[in-house]
Symmetry: C2
Subunit: 158 residues, 2 copies
DNA sequence: GGAAATCTATTGCATATGCATACAAATGCA
DNA sequence: TGCATTTGTATGCATATGCAATAGATTTCC
């Protein structure tokens, strides 16, 4: 079989690409994620709070005081990712971690007073962003997205 | 007004958090995005090809030869992000960039022969991942997601 | 024709994430 | 009891992204 020229290879790739372009579900969900991230990020920017950090704060605040691994489970994030996100939040003085008296390996994380205050300040902004996102997706779209994510989230733990 | 103790602040934050936990659309779409990313990433891992790179390859392959800014528009990515993604792909020998003869500022990007070959090899794997993703979301869910992302993508350019 | 605005790409800075590894602590089982 | 396994975190390594600022080229508009 003769070696293909670069032009021939590219032409073949182009046929494949045209067939699949725009169909990729991952591409779509990522584009959507970037768009929504921009909406929330813009709303939270005056507080220097990132969307991810807001999500972590919500989980930590709702939990009251919990292990890192518990929080990671709540938000379906890898422990290694959460570990570093919490690092930043700790540097910012928004959360503090203390050793878990029941397990020397574990650390409990909770909001500091300053973190709780920031969270209270962030909520109205989050609500605005949420409203904008809902407007972009449409009421039905928002519900569909929620349902889709639920399916994905509940599929954890075999 | 008396200063709140950290406990009081946390309790207030907890009330706010419980009210909103699980409702955040951004959190949902991100969790979904991470899940799908994992599916495609696993399928492409034997080729050392990342999902994002696959998306870029598809756009570049479909375009044939185009400016970075055109490709960035196609996939709704910031030029600065694309610039670095293309860097990596160039280092890997999958794409090459040449100056645009019609505009000294611009650079044209295209697949190399090696990149086109890799792309051809990646497509069956992509199809498998796509099938798994479709299975996870359900046929309807996949269509809804596509529609949602379309709304987000088409909202570009005022 | 030339200054000002615009466009194209890149880089600095900061986060976000995942996988593989490393380690320490806790648990289970022989 | 003692060792193997599991579990909870943290780190190394690599990529992914966005915003702001920059450099250079082009276009626009006096």
């Amino acid at each position: 079989m003769a070696r293909r020229s670069a032009e021939e290879s590219r032409a073949a790739a182009q046929r494949l690409a045209l067939e699949s372009a725009g169909a990729c579900l991952l591409f779509r969900v990522r584009a959507l994620s970037r768009t929504l991230t921009g909406i929330y990020d813009e709303a939270l920017r005056p507080l220097a709070l990132k969307p991810t950090q807001m999500n972590v704060m919500t989980a930590v605040a709702a939990r009251g005081e919990g292990r890192l691994s518990e929080v990671a489970d709540m938000i379906a994030l890898e422990p290694s990712s959460l570990s570093r996100i919490v690092d930043v939040m700790r540097r910012n003085g928004w959360v503090e971690t203390v050793p878990d008296p029941e397990d020397e390996r574990a650390r409990l994380v909770r909001l500091t007073a300053s973190g709780a205050a920031l969270y209270a300040e962030a909520m109205p902004r989050w609500r605005k962003a949420q409203a904008r996102a809902r407007e972009l997706l449409g009421e039905e779209g928002a519900q569909e997205l929620t349902a889709l994510a639920n399916a994905s989230l509940s599929r954890r733990a075999p």
